[in-house]
Symmetry: C2
Subunit: 295 residues, 2 copies
Amino acid sequence: MADVLFEKVAFIGVGLIGSSMARRMSADGLMSEIVACARSEETRTKVVDLGIASQTFEDPAAAVDGADLVVIATPIGSCGAIAQAIAPALKPGAIVTDVGSVKQAVVDAVAPYLSAENAFVPGHPIAGTEESGPEAGFPELFDGRWTILTPTDGTDAEAVEKVKVLWQRMGAMVDTMTPSHHDMVLAITSHLPHLIAYTIVGTATDLEDDLRQEVMKYSASGFRDFTRIAASDPVMWRDIFLNNRDSTLETLQRFSEDLTALQRAIRRGEGDVLEELFARTRKIRRGIIDAKQAY
Amino acid sequence: MADVLFEKVAFIGVGLIGSSMARRMSADGLMSEIVACARSEETRTKVVDLGIASQTFEDPAAAVDGADLVVIATPIGSCGAIAQAIAPALKPGAIVTDVGSVKQAVVDAVAPYLSAENAFVPGHPIAGTEESGPEAGFPELFDGRWTILTPTDGTDAEAVEKVKVLWQRMGAMVDTMTPSHHDMVLAITSHLPHLIAYTIVGTATDLEDDLRQEVMKYSASGFRDFTRIAASDPVMWRDIFLNNRDSTLETLQRFSEDLTALQRAIRRGEGDVLEELFARTRKIRRGIIDAKQAY
Protein backbone atom coordinates (compact mmCIF):
# COMPACT_ATOMS: atom_id res chain seq x y z
CA MET A 1 0.00 0.00 0.00
CA ALA A 2 1.45 3.35 -1.05
CA ASP A 3 0.28 5.01 2.16
CA VAL A 4 2.31 2.87 4.53
CA LEU A 5 5.03 5.04 6.12
CA PHE A 6 6.65 2.37 8.29
CA GLU A 7 6.44 -1.41 8.10
CA LYS A 8 6.72 -2.25 11.79
CA VAL A 9 6.18 0.25 14.61
CA ALA A 10 7.02 -0.45 18.26
CA PHE A 11 5.47 1.56 21.07
CA ILE A 12 7.30 1.65 24.39
CA GLY A 13 4.49 2.77 26.69
CA VAL A 14 0.87 2.75 25.58
CA GLY A 15 -0.93 5.42 27.59
CA LEU A 16 -3.16 8.21 26.34
CA ILE A 17 -0.68 9.47 23.73
CA GLY A 18 0.81 6.14 22.61
CA SER A 19 -2.55 4.44 22.24
CA SER A 20 -4.01 7.43 20.38
CA MET A 21 -1.10 7.34 17.91
CA ALA A 22 -1.48 3.59 17.45
CA ARG A 23 -5.22 3.86 16.88
CA ARG A 24 -4.79 6.62 14.34
CA MET A 25 -1.99 4.84 12.50
CA SER A 26 -4.07 1.66 12.28
CA ALA A 27 -7.22 3.51 11.25
CA ASP A 28 -5.42 5.31 8.43
CA GLY A 29 -3.16 2.41 7.41
CA LEU A 30 0.06 4.28 8.10
CA MET A 31 1.97 1.09 9.03
CA SER A 32 1.78 -2.68 8.51
CA GLU A 33 2.25 -3.87 12.08
CA ILE A 34 2.18 -2.42 15.60
CA VAL A 35 3.76 -4.04 18.64
CA ALA A 36 3.80 -2.60 22.13
CA CYS A 37 5.80 -2.79 25.32
CA ALA A 38 4.20 -2.12 28.71
CA ARG A 39 5.58 -2.85 32.16
CA SER A 40 2.36 -4.05 33.78
CA GLU A 41 0.56 -7.20 32.74
CA GLU A 42 -2.75 -5.37 33.24
CA THR A 43 -1.82 -2.80 30.58
CA ARG A 44 -0.58 -5.49 28.17
CA THR A 45 -3.89 -7.32 28.51
CA LYS A 46 -5.83 -4.13 27.85
CA VAL A 47 -3.72 -3.34 24.78
CA VAL A 48 -4.48 -6.75 23.30
CA ASP A 49 -8.18 -6.62 24.25
CA LEU A 50 -8.50 -3.16 22.69
CA GLY A 51 -6.80 -4.39 19.51
CA ILE A 52 -4.16 -1.65 19.71
CA ALA A 53 -1.17 -3.92 19.00
CA SER A 54 -0.74 -7.35 17.44
CA GLN A 55 1.86 -8.37 20.01
CA THR A 56 2.89 -7.08 23.43
CA PHE A 57 6.13 -7.39 25.38
CA GLU A 58 7.35 -6.73 28.89
CA ASP A 59 10.93 -6.26 27.69
CA PRO A 60 11.56 -3.10 25.61
CA ALA A 61 14.50 -4.73 23.76
CA ALA A 62 12.27 -7.58 22.60
CA ALA A 63 9.60 -5.13 21.45
CA VAL A 64 11.89 -3.12 19.17
CA ASP A 65 13.24 -6.16 17.33
CA GLY A 66 12.81 -5.55 13.61
CA ALA A 67 10.90 -2.29 14.10
CA ASP A 68 11.36 0.57 11.61
CA LEU A 69 10.01 3.16 14.02
CA VAL A 70 10.22 3.11 17.81
CA VAL A 71 7.99 5.50 19.75
CA ILE A 72 8.96 6.07 23.38
CA ALA A 73 5.73 7.17 25.06
CA THR A 74 6.45 6.70 28.75
CA PRO A 75 6.83 9.29 31.54
CA ILE A 76 10.03 11.14 30.66
CA GLY A 77 11.93 10.00 33.75
CA SER A 78 12.27 6.55 32.21
CA CYS A 79 13.40 7.58 28.71
CA GLY A 80 17.12 7.20 29.45
CA ALA A 81 16.80 3.69 30.84
CA ILE A 82 14.63 2.68 27.90
CA ALA A 83 17.15 4.05 25.39
CA GLN A 84 19.89 2.10 27.12
CA ALA A 85 17.81 -1.07 27.02
CA ILE A 86 16.72 -0.87 23.39
CA ALA A 87 19.90 0.52 21.77
CA PRO A 88 21.63 -2.84 21.18
CA ALA A 89 18.42 -4.38 19.78
CA LEU A 90 17.57 -1.66 17.27
CA LYS A 91 17.51 -2.53 13.59
CA PRO A 92 20.06 -0.46 11.60
CA GLY A 93 18.22 2.52 10.13
CA ALA A 94 15.36 2.34 12.63
CA ILE A 95 14.13 5.78 13.69
CA VAL A 96 13.53 6.48 17.38
CA THR A 97 11.10 9.22 18.46
CA ASP A 98 9.39 10.22 21.69
CA VAL A 99 6.40 12.26 22.83
CA GLY A 100 7.71 13.73 26.09
CA SER A 101 6.60 17.14 27.39
CA VAL A 102 10.19 18.22 28.13
CA LYS A 103 12.78 18.03 25.37
CA GLN A 104 16.29 19.04 26.48
CA ALA A 105 16.35 16.51 29.34
CA VAL A 106 15.06 13.77 27.04
CA VAL A 107 17.63 14.55 24.37
CA ASP A 108 20.36 14.47 27.02
CA ALA A 109 19.10 11.16 28.39
CA VAL A 110 18.42 9.32 25.13
CA ALA A 111 20.89 10.50 22.48
CA PRO A 112 24.10 9.21 24.13
CA TYR A 113 22.88 5.60 23.92
CA LEU A 114 21.98 5.60 20.24
CA SER A 115 24.46 4.81 17.49
CA ALA A 116 24.82 6.88 14.32
CA GLU A 117 22.67 4.30 12.53
CA ASN A 118 19.58 5.21 14.56
CA ALA A 119 18.30 8.77 14.26
CA PHE A 120 16.56 10.19 17.31
CA VAL A 121 13.78 12.66 16.42
CA PRO A 122 12.43 14.17 19.66
CA GLY A 123 8.77 15.15 19.45
CA HIS A 124 5.98 16.57 21.57
CA PRO A 125 2.33 16.55 20.53
CA ILE A 126 0.51 19.46 22.23
CA ALA A 127 -2.61 17.44 22.82
CA GLY A 128 -4.08 15.42 25.60
CA THR A 129 -6.87 15.07 28.12
CA GLU A 130 -6.77 14.57 31.88
CA GLU A 131 -7.36 10.85 31.34
CA SER A 132 -4.58 8.28 31.21
CA GLY A 133 -4.06 4.65 30.19
CA PRO A 134 -4.52 2.80 26.87
CA GLU A 135 -8.32 2.91 27.15
CA ALA A 136 -8.23 6.75 27.22
CA GLY A 137 -6.79 7.13 23.72
CA PHE A 138 -8.73 7.99 20.57
CA PRO A 139 -7.60 8.42 16.95
CA GLU A 140 -8.73 12.06 16.58
CA LEU A 141 -6.67 13.37 19.51
CA PHE A 142 -4.16 15.18 17.30
CA ASP A 143 -6.52 16.69 14.74
CA GLY A 144 -5.79 20.40 14.33
CA ARG A 145 -3.25 20.37 17.20
CA TRP A 146 0.45 21.22 17.04
CA THR A 147 3.27 18.75 17.34
CA ILE A 148 6.70 20.23 18.02
CA LEU A 149 9.81 18.42 16.78
CA THR A 150 13.16 19.38 18.33
CA PRO A 151 15.92 17.82 16.21
CA THR A 152 19.47 18.91 16.96
CA ASP A 153 22.08 19.89 14.37
CA GLY A 154 23.21 16.31 13.98
CA THR A 155 19.80 14.74 13.46
CA ASP A 156 19.34 13.05 10.08
CA ALA A 157 17.13 15.35 7.99
CA GLU A 158 15.41 12.46 6.21
CA ALA A 159 14.39 10.93 9.51
CA VAL A 160 12.99 14.26 10.71
CA GLU A 161 10.98 14.54 7.49
CA LYS A 162 9.54 11.01 7.91
CA VAL A 163 8.41 11.76 11.49
CA LYS A 164 6.99 15.09 10.37
CA VAL A 165 4.93 13.43 7.64
CA LEU A 166 3.72 10.83 10.15
CA TRP A 167 2.37 13.56 12.44
CA GLN A 168 0.76 15.39 9.56
CA ARG A 169 -0.92 12.18 8.45
CA MET A 170 -2.20 11.78 12.03
CA GLY A 171 -3.93 15.17 11.72
CA ALA A 172 -1.37 17.41 13.43
CA MET A 173 0.34 20.60 12.33
CA VAL A 174 4.11 20.39 12.82
CA ASP A 175 6.61 22.99 14.04
CA THR A 176 10.34 22.65 14.60
CA MET A 177 12.45 24.42 17.24
CA THR A 178 15.41 23.80 19.53
CA PRO A 179 14.88 21.66 22.65
CA SER A 180 15.69 24.55 24.99
CA HIS A 181 13.31 26.97 23.28
CA HIS A 182 10.60 24.32 23.43
CA ASP A 183 11.15 23.94 27.16
CA MET A 184 10.85 27.66 27.79
CA VAL A 185 7.66 28.04 25.74
CA LEU A 186 6.09 24.99 27.37
CA ALA A 187 7.10 26.19 30.84
CA ILE A 188 4.77 29.14 30.26
CA THR A 189 1.96 27.47 28.32
CA SER A 190 1.82 24.19 30.17
CA HIS A 191 4.13 23.58 33.12
CA LEU A 192 3.34 26.75 35.05
CA PRO A 193 -0.45 26.41 34.49
CA HIS A 194 -0.30 22.83 35.76
CA LEU A 195 1.81 23.85 38.74
CA ILE A 196 -0.70 26.57 39.65
CA ALA A 197 -3.68 24.26 39.16
CA TYR A 198 -2.12 21.54 41.30
CA THR A 199 -1.43 24.12 44.01
CA ILE A 200 -4.90 25.64 44.12
CA VAL A 201 -6.62 22.27 44.12
CA GLY A 202 -4.14 21.14 46.79
CA THR A 203 -5.03 24.18 48.89
CA ALA A 204 -8.67 23.09 48.69
CA THR A 205 -7.91 19.50 49.72
CA ASP A 206 -6.41 20.84 52.95
CA LEU A 207 -9.67 22.50 54.00
CA GLU A 208 -11.87 21.12 56.74
CA ASP A 209 -14.25 18.44 55.54
CA ASP A 210 -17.45 20.55 55.46
CA LEU A 211 -15.84 23.35 53.54
CA ARG A 212 -14.24 20.95 51.06
CA GLN A 213 -17.67 19.48 50.30
CA GLU A 214 -18.98 22.97 49.63
CA VAL A 215 -16.04 23.77 47.37
CA MET A 216 -16.88 20.75 45.20
CA LYS A 217 -20.58 21.61 45.21
CA TYR A 218 -20.05 25.19 44.05
CA SER A 219 -17.06 24.47 41.83
CA ALA A 220 -18.78 25.70 38.66
CA SER A 221 -17.77 29.23 39.61
CA GLY A 222 -14.16 28.83 38.44
CA PHE A 223 -12.50 26.19 40.59
CA ARG A 224 -13.78 23.38 38.38
CA ASP A 225 -11.60 24.42 35.43
CA PHE A 226 -8.49 23.97 37.57
CA THR A 227 -9.49 20.52 38.77
CA ARG A 228 -9.54 19.19 35.23
CA ILE A 229 -5.90 20.15 34.77
CA ALA A 230 -4.99 18.97 38.28
CA ALA A 231 -6.42 15.53 37.49
CA SER A 232 -3.60 14.82 35.02
CA ASP A 233 -1.30 11.84 35.47
CA PRO A 234 0.77 12.28 38.69
CA VAL A 235 3.90 10.38 37.58
CA MET A 236 4.04 12.08 34.19
CA TRP A 237 3.83 15.49 35.85
CA ARG A 238 6.29 14.69 38.60
CA ASP A 239 8.80 13.89 35.86
CA ILE A 240 8.02 17.06 33.91
CA PHE A 241 8.76 19.33 36.87
CA LEU A 242 11.90 17.44 37.82
CA ASN A 243 13.16 17.58 34.22
CA ASN A 244 12.23 21.16 33.33
CA ARG A 245 13.16 22.60 36.67
CA ASP A 246 14.99 25.76 35.63
CA SER A 247 12.45 27.06 33.10
CA THR A 248 9.57 26.20 35.41
CA LEU A 249 11.12 27.99 38.39
CA GLU A 250 11.97 31.00 36.23
CA THR A 251 8.42 31.43 34.94
CA LEU A 252 7.09 30.78 38.44
CA GLN A 253 9.23 33.67 39.67
CA ARG A 254 7.67 36.02 37.10
CA PHE A 255 4.21 34.80 38.04
CA SER A 256 4.86 35.32 41.77
CA GLU A 257 5.98 38.89 41.21
CA ASP A 258 2.83 39.64 39.21
CA LEU A 259 0.65 37.98 41.84
CA THR A 260 2.24 40.08 44.58
CA ALA A 261 1.53 43.25 42.60
CA LEU A 262 -2.12 42.23 42.17
CA GLN A 263 -2.39 41.35 45.85
CA ARG A 264 -1.14 44.82 46.74
CA ALA A 265 -3.64 46.44 44.35
CA ILE A 266 -6.49 44.57 46.05
CA ARG A 267 -5.24 45.44 49.51
CA ARG A 268 -4.98 49.11 48.58
CA GLY A 269 -8.32 49.12 46.77
CA GLU A 270 -6.79 50.22 43.45
CA GLY A 271 -9.75 49.48 41.20
CA ASP A 272 -8.22 51.09 38.12
CA VAL A 273 -5.15 48.81 38.27
CA LEU A 274 -7.40 45.74 38.46
CA GLU A 275 -9.71 46.82 35.67
CA GLU A 276 -6.81 47.67 33.36
CA LEU A 277 -5.23 44.22 33.82
CA PHE A 278 -8.55 42.38 33.42
CA ALA A 279 -9.26 44.22 30.16
CA ARG A 280 -5.79 43.30 28.87
CA THR A 281 -6.10 39.58 29.66
CA ARG A 282 -9.43 39.43 27.86
CA LYS A 283 -7.64 40.22 24.59
CA ILE A 284 -5.37 37.18 24.92
CA ARG A 285 -8.41 34.91 24.77
CA ARG A 286 -9.38 36.56 21.50
CA GLY A 287 -5.86 35.85 20.18
CA ILE A 288 -6.21 32.16 21.00
CA ILE A 289 -9.59 31.95 19.31
CA ASP A 290 -8.05 33.66 16.26
CA ALA A 291 -5.24 31.05 16.34
CA LYS A 292 -7.99 28.39 16.20
CA GLN A 293 -6.86 26.78 19.47
CA ALA A 294 -10.16 27.65 21.25
CA TYR A 295 -13.72 28.40 20.12
CA MET B 1 -52.34 31.71 34.79
CA ALA B 2 -51.58 29.61 37.86
CA ASP B 3 -47.88 29.51 37.06
CA VAL B 4 -47.24 33.25 37.22
CA LEU B 5 -45.07 33.99 40.28
CA PHE B 6 -44.85 37.77 39.87
CA GLU B 7 -47.00 40.16 37.84
CA LYS B 8 -44.39 42.74 36.95
CA VAL B 9 -40.63 42.19 37.17
CA ALA B 10 -38.04 44.97 36.82
CA PHE B 11 -34.42 44.22 35.94
CA ILE B 12 -31.81 46.80 36.87
CA GLY B 13 -28.94 45.71 34.62
CA VAL B 14 -29.48 43.29 31.76
CA GLY B 15 -26.16 41.52 31.18
CA LEU B 16 -25.45 37.80 30.94
CA ILE B 17 -27.27 36.93 34.19
CA GLY B 18 -30.14 39.42 34.00
CA SER B 19 -30.96 38.63 30.39
CA SER B 20 -30.76 34.87 31.03
CA MET B 21 -33.21 35.19 33.92
CA ALA B 22 -35.54 37.34 31.83
CA ARG B 23 -35.44 34.89 28.92
CA ARG B 24 -36.16 31.93 31.18
CA MET B 25 -38.99 33.70 33.00
CA SER B 26 -40.59 34.66 29.69
CA ALA B 27 -40.11 31.21 28.18
CA ASP B 28 -41.74 29.50 31.16
CA GLY B 29 -44.40 32.16 31.80
CA LEU B 30 -43.21 32.91 35.32
CA MET B 31 -44.33 36.57 35.13
CA SER B 32 -46.75 38.77 33.21
CA GLU B 33 -44.48 41.66 32.32
CA ILE B 34 -40.76 42.42 32.27
CA VAL B 35 -39.26 45.90 32.20
CA ALA B 36 -35.57 46.69 32.26
CA CYS B 37 -33.23 49.50 33.21
CA ALA B 38 -29.84 49.95 31.51
CA ARG B 39 -27.51 52.90 31.63
CA SER B 40 -26.43 52.88 28.00
CA GLU B 41 -28.75 53.53 25.10
CA GLU B 42 -26.96 50.80 23.14
CA THR B 43 -27.94 48.19 25.73
CA ARG B 44 -31.53 49.44 25.91
CA THR B 45 -31.83 49.13 22.14
CA LYS B 46 -30.44 45.58 22.22
CA VAL B 47 -32.84 44.60 25.00
CA VAL B 48 -35.82 45.77 22.96
CA ASP B 49 -34.51 44.22 19.73
CA LEU B 50 -33.94 40.91 21.48
CA GLY B 51 -37.46 41.02 22.95
CA ILE B 52 -36.13 40.65 26.48
CA ALA B 53 -38.29 43.39 28.02
CA SER B 54 -41.48 45.15 26.97
CA GLN B 55 -40.17 48.53 28.15
CA THR B 56 -36.74 49.95 28.97
CA PHE B 57 -35.66 52.85 31.17
CA GLU B 58 -32.51 54.83 31.82
CA ASP B 59 -33.72 55.79 35.32
CA PRO B 60 -33.85 52.91 37.84
CA ALA B 61 -36.60 54.60 39.87
CA ALA B 62 -38.84 54.79 36.79
CA ALA B 63 -38.15 51.12 35.99
CA VAL B 64 -39.28 49.78 39.38
CA ASP B 65 -42.61 51.65 39.37
CA GLY B 66 -45.36 49.12 40.05
CA ALA B 67 -42.96 46.12 39.99
CA ASP B 68 -43.60 43.16 42.31
CA LEU B 69 -40.03 41.91 41.98
CA VAL B 70 -36.91 43.99 41.37
CA VAL B 71 -33.75 42.16 40.29
CA ILE B 72 -30.51 44.14 40.69
CA ALA B 73 -28.13 42.56 38.19
CA THR B 74 -25.36 45.13 37.81
CA PRO B 75 -21.69 44.97 38.88
CA ILE B 76 -21.83 44.94 42.68
CA GLY B 77 -20.07 48.28 43.10
CA SER B 78 -23.25 50.04 41.96
CA CYS B 79 -25.78 48.16 44.13
CA GLY B 80 -25.80 50.74 46.93
CA ALA B 81 -26.47 53.69 44.63
CA ILE B 82 -29.20 51.73 42.87
CA ALA B 83 -30.89 50.84 46.18
CA GLN B 84 -30.81 54.49 47.17
CA ALA B 85 -32.33 55.52 43.85
CA ILE B 86 -35.14 52.95 43.74
CA ALA B 87 -36.13 52.84 47.44
CA PRO B 88 -38.62 55.76 47.32
CA ALA B 89 -40.23 54.42 44.13
CA LEU B 90 -40.78 50.81 45.28
CA LYS B 91 -44.35 49.53 45.52
CA PRO B 92 -45.19 48.43 49.10
CA GLY B 93 -44.65 44.68 49.35
CA ALA B 94 -42.29 44.58 46.36
CA ILE B 95 -39.42 42.13 46.83
CA VAL B 96 -35.86 43.20 45.94
CA THR B 97 -33.24 40.61 45.05
CA ASP B 98 -29.78 40.69 43.46
CA VAL B 99 -27.36 38.30 41.74
CA GLY B 100 -24.00 39.63 42.95
CA SER B 101 -20.98 37.38 43.45
CA VAL B 102 -20.21 38.92 46.86
CA LYS B 103 -22.93 39.00 49.49
CA GLN B 104 -21.88 40.73 52.73
CA ALA B 105 -20.83 43.93 50.95
CA VAL B 106 -24.07 43.96 48.94
CA VAL B 107 -26.20 43.42 52.06
CA ASP B 108 -24.35 46.26 53.77
CA ALA B 109 -24.80 48.55 50.77
CA VAL B 110 -28.44 47.80 49.92
CA ALA B 111 -30.33 46.92 53.13
CA PRO B 112 -30.02 50.33 54.87
CA TYR B 113 -31.97 52.04 52.08
CA LEU B 114 -34.97 49.72 52.05
CA SER B 115 -37.99 50.15 54.32
CA ALA B 116 -39.58 47.31 56.28
CA GLU B 117 -42.19 47.02 53.51
CA ASN B 118 -39.63 45.81 50.98
CA ALA B 119 -37.83 42.56 51.73
CA PHE B 120 -34.31 42.22 50.36
CA VAL B 121 -33.40 38.63 49.44
CA PRO B 122 -29.73 38.55 48.40
CA GLY B 123 -28.96 35.85 45.86
CA HIS B 124 -26.08 34.49 43.78
CA PRO B 125 -26.52 32.06 40.90
CA ILE B 126 -23.33 29.96 40.51
CA ALA B 127 -23.55 30.02 36.75
CA GLY B 128 -22.10 32.02 33.93
CA THR B 129 -19.85 32.08 30.93
CA GLU B 130 -16.98 34.39 30.01
CA GLU B 131 -19.35 36.33 27.75
CA SER B 132 -21.15 39.48 28.83
CA GLY B 133 -23.99 41.72 27.64
CA PRO B 134 -27.70 41.07 26.98
CA GLU B 135 -26.96 39.12 23.79
CA ALA B 136 -24.88 36.58 25.78
CA GLY B 137 -27.80 35.31 27.89
CA PHE B 138 -29.74 32.11 27.30
CA PRO B 139 -32.68 30.56 29.19
CA GLU B 140 -30.93 27.30 30.15
CA LEU B 141 -28.01 28.97 31.95
CA PHE B 142 -29.21 27.94 35.42
CA ASP B 143 -30.25 24.36 34.70
CA GLY B 144 -28.69 22.01 37.25
CA ARG B 145 -26.61 24.84 38.79
CA TRP B 146 -26.74 26.10 42.35
CA THR B 147 -28.14 29.44 43.45
CA ILE B 148 -27.21 30.57 46.94
CA LEU B 149 -29.58 32.83 48.90
CA THR B 150 -28.16 34.72 51.89
CA PRO B 151 -31.10 36.14 53.85
CA THR B 152 -30.31 37.65 57.27
CA ASP B 153 -32.30 37.02 60.46
CA GLY B 154 -34.65 39.88 59.71
CA THR B 155 -35.51 38.89 56.14
CA ASP B 156 -39.20 38.08 55.58
CA ALA B 157 -39.47 34.27 55.27
CA GLU B 158 -42.28 34.42 52.75
CA ALA B 159 -40.20 36.62 50.44
CA VAL B 160 -37.26 34.22 50.71
CA GLU B 161 -39.57 31.35 49.79
CA LYS B 162 -40.90 33.19 46.73
CA VAL B 163 -37.40 33.93 45.44
CA LYS B 164 -36.37 30.34 46.13
CA VAL B 165 -39.32 28.99 44.10
CA LEU B 166 -38.46 31.40 41.29
CA TRP B 167 -34.91 30.01 41.05
CA GLN B 168 -36.15 26.44 41.18
CA ARG B 169 -38.59 27.19 38.38
CA MET B 170 -35.64 28.60 36.40
CA GLY B 171 -33.89 25.22 36.71
CA ALA B 172 -31.57 25.90 39.64
CA MET B 173 -31.01 24.09 42.92
CA VAL B 174 -31.17 26.46 45.88
CA ASP B 175 -29.07 26.63 49.04
CA THR B 176 -29.22 29.12 51.90
CA MET B 177 -26.32 30.35 54.03
CA THR B 178 -25.09 33.50 55.75
CA PRO B 179 -23.55 36.27 53.63
CA SER B 180 -20.15 35.92 55.30
CA HIS B 181 -20.01 32.16 54.86
CA HIS B 182 -20.95 32.59 51.20
CA ASP B 183 -18.11 35.05 50.75
CA MET B 184 -15.57 32.66 52.26
CA VAL B 185 -16.69 29.69 50.14
CA LEU B 186 -16.75 31.76 46.96
CA ALA B 187 -13.33 33.25 47.74
CA ILE B 188 -11.98 29.72 47.38
CA THR B 189 -14.14 28.39 44.55
CA SER B 190 -14.30 31.48 42.41
CA HIS B 191 -12.44 34.62 43.46
CA LEU B 192 -9.03 33.01 44.02
CA PRO B 193 -9.23 30.97 40.77
CA HIS B 194 -10.08 34.12 38.84
CA LEU B 195 -7.28 36.07 40.54
CA ILE B 196 -4.78 33.36 39.62
CA ALA B 197 -6.05 33.09 36.06
CA TYR B 198 -5.89 36.86 35.57
CA THR B 199 -2.34 36.84 36.92
CA ILE B 200 -1.01 34.02 34.75
CA VAL B 201 -2.59 35.42 31.61
CA GLY B 202 -1.25 38.84 32.60
CA THR B 203 2.23 37.36 32.97
CA ALA B 204 1.94 36.07 29.40
CA THR B 205 0.82 39.44 28.02
CA ASP B 206 4.06 40.96 29.33
CA LEU B 207 6.22 38.62 27.22
CA GLU B 208 8.07 39.79 24.15
CA ASP B 209 5.93 39.76 21.03
CA ASP B 210 7.36 36.57 19.43
CA LEU B 211 7.05 34.55 22.58
CA ARG B 212 3.49 35.77 23.20
CA GLN B 213 2.50 34.58 19.72
CA GLU B 214 3.94 31.15 20.52
CA VAL B 215 2.10 31.03 23.84
CA MET B 216 -1.20 31.54 22.04
CA LYS B 217 -0.30 29.01 19.36
CA TYR B 218 0.56 26.26 21.85
CA SER B 219 -2.07 27.22 24.42
CA ALA B 220 -3.86 23.86 24.23
CA SER B 221 -1.31 22.48 26.68
CA GLY B 222 -2.93 24.06 29.74
CA PHE B 223 -2.75 27.84 29.36
CA ARG B 224 -5.93 27.95 27.30
CA ASP B 225 -8.11 26.89 30.25
CA PHE B 226 -6.95 29.93 32.19
CA THR B 227 -7.67 32.36 29.37
CA ARG B 228 -11.34 31.43 29.35
CA ILE B 229 -11.65 32.49 32.99
CA ALA B 230 -9.45 35.54 32.46
CA ALA B 231 -11.77 36.73 29.68
CA SER B 232 -14.55 37.45 32.18
CA ASP B 233 -16.05 40.92 32.53
CA PRO B 234 -13.37 43.35 33.84
CA VAL B 235 -15.68 45.74 35.75
CA MET B 236 -17.64 42.92 37.38
CA TRP B 237 -14.42 41.33 38.59
CA ARG B 238 -12.83 44.59 39.72
CA ASP B 239 -15.86 45.07 41.98
CA ILE B 240 -15.72 41.51 43.30
CA PHE B 241 -12.12 41.84 44.47
CA LEU B 242 -12.71 45.27 45.97
CA ASN B 243 -15.79 44.02 47.83
CA ASN B 244 -14.54 40.64 49.03
CA ARG B 245 -11.08 41.86 49.86
CA ASP B 246 -10.53 40.16 53.21
CA SER B 247 -11.63 36.65 52.22
CA THR B 248 -9.78 36.87 48.91
CA LEU B 249 -6.54 37.98 50.55
CA GLU B 250 -6.85 35.29 53.20
CA THR B 251 -7.27 32.46 50.68
CA LEU B 252 -4.52 33.99 48.56
CA GLN B 253 -2.22 33.78 51.57
CA ARG B 254 -2.94 30.04 51.94
CA PHE B 255 -2.36 29.52 48.24
CA SER B 256 0.96 31.41 48.32
CA GLU B 257 2.22 29.28 51.19
CA ASP B 258 1.33 26.10 49.32
CA LEU B 259 2.93 27.40 46.13
CA THR B 260 6.14 28.21 47.99
CA ALA B 261 6.24 24.67 49.39
CA LEU B 262 5.79 23.22 45.90
CA GLN B 263 8.45 25.54 44.50
CA ARG B 264 10.87 24.28 47.13
CA ALA B 265 10.04 20.65 46.34
CA ILE B 266 10.83 21.26 42.67
CA ARG B 267 14.06 23.10 43.48
CA ARG B 268 15.16 20.27 45.75
CA GLY B 269 14.06 17.57 43.30
CA GLU B 270 11.66 15.95 45.80
CA GLY B 271 9.72 13.74 43.40
CA ASP B 272 7.80 11.90 46.12
CA VAL B 273 6.35 15.18 47.49
CA LEU B 274 5.18 16.16 44.00
CA GLU B 275 3.69 12.79 43.16
CA GLU B 276 1.83 12.58 46.48
CA LEU B 277 0.23 16.00 45.96
CA PHE B 278 -0.69 15.29 42.33
CA ALA B 279 -2.37 12.01 43.31
CA ARG B 280 -4.36 13.83 46.01
CA THR B 281 -5.61 16.58 43.69
CA ARG B 282 -6.80 14.00 41.18
CA LYS B 283 -9.36 12.76 43.71
CA ILE B 284 -10.96 16.19 44.01
CA ARG B 285 -11.92 16.05 40.35
CA ARG B 286 -13.68 12.75 41.01
CA GLY B 287 -15.59 14.43 43.88
CA ILE B 288 -16.81 17.17 41.55
CA ILE B 289 -17.93 14.67 38.95
CA ASP B 290 -19.79 12.78 41.70
CA ALA B 291 -21.43 16.09 42.73
CA LYS B 292 -22.65 16.38 39.10
CA GLN B 293 -20.86 19.71 38.56
CA ALA B 294 -18.54 18.27 35.88
CA TYR B 295 -18.66 15.33 33.48
